[in-house]
Symmetry: C2
């Protein structure tokens, strides 16, 4: 085991700027295996299998890039909404690897299908096979390098042998660590809620770091619930909640070829049948799913490459949701704003610059800007009580909230990002070596 | 004189990654004065006057930001196309300075108008006055700080006293230095060409550095010609040529409140009358103006904040000009591409990522990518002869050319930018101190 999870938990490196993550325990219907397939030079876990012995309904959202990785092509090609396995590898993105990259996935899927079918009949004496179209792939890492098909195929026996059907917090952390690339801390989140009178669980893990800007999913995020929700409803729930969560974070404005967020429902919980997203009994689940996705998304932004501060940018009282979003992301993606924040400089001139360039009609005489509880601009004027020294003090913190009040409508959007530091350059000027 | 120009020229600090600038000499009809109004803590020139004793036709393009500086508001409010003076200050952008900022400009304009009118009648015994609407303002520096109206008004007598009507290369360099903020090197360019049988000159200076992304002008650029071209034709020439020059550069994707490029024509050259942009006699001038603007624009990108490399990104054989431009800027604005280049890493995976996220329809099977003369991708495959070691060697240079061949049309666009380095963070995390 390359990483000692208990030591890791005792160390400081699991501290996120937005607080500790929750403990995930057991969720019915999920098997997890985490191993090293030696994809990295150094010893670390790099291959994670989620195995749904009795199947799981699922729904995914994928990158909006015009160049997509081979594993995303595979996932998109699947007919059907039921999954038996999700296999996630790091180190190699399997993007721009062409026919060979896709063939690699097919070979792995075939091997996995065969071996899982054998395992299943050994364990359970069931005559149920795992079909190719029940296997999903997640990949993250370097683009345009030969995909390590052989190494992964060779690791399948170990991967299957180590499947654990009862999870605890250490196993979830191990899985979250196993899908990381340049992330510094694992990302986990959970909620419990009711559907009817039955309690259901929503667990999630994610990895992020560089290359994160929404056109959609922006990273790897995997959510697991024991609820029994049909695939069509899962799809609607995911699409609805991704907009203000994973699609509200930006680390460097770049978009990956590999972004993928998937929710799996193992159907193990006993609750009244759900057949529509409009079912009142889904309300609590809907809110809880949003919380899990938002929690994961914030952790991704807080751990953006090289970040020293977590930044929330709330744009309120806009005419439209789109206007609010444009301005929030114009600020979140501005290198000048993000470097000022890394220097604890309350340089609201740069926030104004970013508002101005967003191509949204404004009424400058109504504009307000605050950081934390400190008003800087009110009605288009520097606020009479504004003391820069207080603002500098606030900017020294690890969590920075910027509020832009347009005062011309009632729509809002919050974007999440991090500051831009020398560390970002260091990491990215030297990524492959 | 805070800077000894001759020493400066002997030092290495005037070396641009794209070669030395040309020597500008004399151009008829332009008076120049460069002084220090003590706008900075340290001693340096910060106030530059261009004085057109006999008037000049002019045309301008300005920032597309929704928040514009007070001096741009002043310029936009002027009726008329003839200028007598352009006054440029650094240190303070006069943006988000409200009514007081605009009033400051009015006061300076009034003082300048009065004193220039007196000077004119003393020097020339002319009874010609300098009107308020013949005075243009350029400002650059920090946003939302009180505009130093008094300091500038107090400096007007010295400014007028030091006007030189005969320029040499040192005076032009002094002027180019006087409009700089965080620029490391002055930006100058020149061309000579014919209109009919008469030779005319086109001289230009510019300042750039941070906050540079086109929606239009992107920086301060001032071009002077002795040609006799009507304002309407000047306007068309400038708009046409700005698209592939100043609007083709990006340093950090940010857009200033203060961008301004203006061309002044002193009408001193004797050549056949020009009344239309379609006049064949204008062709050479049109090309030469493009060269001057492109030369200045490249110098701005090469001197982008913290840059160690100058990057040209040419996208060829696109279906439309817009498609080519989208992809070129998606690459030019990608922090992941720019940090890889700063680390001399030929990480074409990131170039692919940036191509993919540009939201342009592609035929991946036709895609080609080269750096310099080194083919990396051909017909969507890694080129058979590609040797990464050669690419790394190439990436160690100061000038990096990236060519993306879409092979699906015949339109092209070239964007210019620089790499993203720790120095950029240093400069911008600490800009105001």
């Amino acid at each position: 085991m390359p990483i000692n999870i208990k030591n890791f938990l005792l160390s400081k490196s699991n501290k996120s700027k937005i607080g500790d993550f929750q403990d995930l325990e057991h969720i019915d219907g999920v098997g997890i295996s985490v191993i090293s397939a030696n994809l990295y030079k150094e010893a670390r876990d790099d291959l994670v299998l989620f195995y749904f012995r009795d199947g799981a309904n699922y729904a995914s959202v994928y990158t909006q890039s015009k160049i997509i990785s081979e594993n995303i092509k595979w996932n998109l090609s699947l007919k059907g909404n039921s999954a038996k396995a999700l296999i996630v590898n790091t180190r190699n993105a399997n993007a721009f690897t062409g026919k060979l990259g896709f063939k690699g996935i097919s070979q792995i899927a075939e091997e996995l299908s065969k071996k899982l079918t054998i395992k299943m009949s050994e364990d359970e004496e069931k005559k149920v096979s795992v079909k190719l179209n029940e296997i999903l792939f997640g990949s993250t890492g370097t683009i345009a390098e030969k995909f390590p098909t052989e190494k992964i195929i060779k690791s399948i026996p170990e991967l299957l042998e180590k499947i654990k059907y009862t999870q605890n917090k250490y196993l979830w952390i191990k899985a979250a660590l196993g899908i990381m690339t340049t992330d510094l801390v694992p990302k986990l989140a959970m909620e419990e809620c009711n559907i009817g009178n039955s309690e259901v669980k929503i667990y999630g893990i994610a990895k992020g770091s560089g290359m994160i800007f929404p056109n959609m999913a922006t990273t790897l995020g995997y959510v697991f619930t024991d609820a029994d929700i049909p695939p069509g409803v899962l799809k609607k729930l995911l699409k609805k909640n991704i907009e203000t969560t994973f699609n509200a974070i930006s680390c460097d404005g770049d978009t990956s070829t590999n972004d993928m967020v998937t929710i799996f429902a193992t159907k193990k919980a006993k609750h009244p049948k759900i057949s529509s997203i409009n079912d009142d009994k889904l309300k609590e689940f809907d809110n809880s799913l949003n919380l899990v996705l938002l929690n994961l998304a914030k952790r991704i932004a807080a751990d953006g490459e090289g970040s020293s501060k977590f930044i929330s940018i709330e744009v309120v009282n806009a005419k439209t949701f789109i206007d609010a979003k444009k301005i929030a992301f114009s600020i979140a993606n501005s290198p000048l704003v993000k470097t000022a924040i890394s220097g604890a400089d309350p340089n609201f001139g740069r926030i104004l610059m970013a508002i101005g360039k967003a191509n949204v009609n404004l009424n400058l005489k109504k504009l307000g800007i605050s950081i934390g509880d400190i008003k800087i601009i009110e009605k288009g004027q520097i606020f009479s009580d504004y003391q820069e020294i207080e603002a500098v003090e606030y900017m020294r913190g690890e969590k920075i909230d910027i509020t832009v009040d347009l005062n011309i409508g009632n729509k809002k959007f919050t974007a999440y990002t991090m500051d831009l530091t020398k560390k970002y350059i260091e990491i990215n000027a030297d990524y492959r070596s």
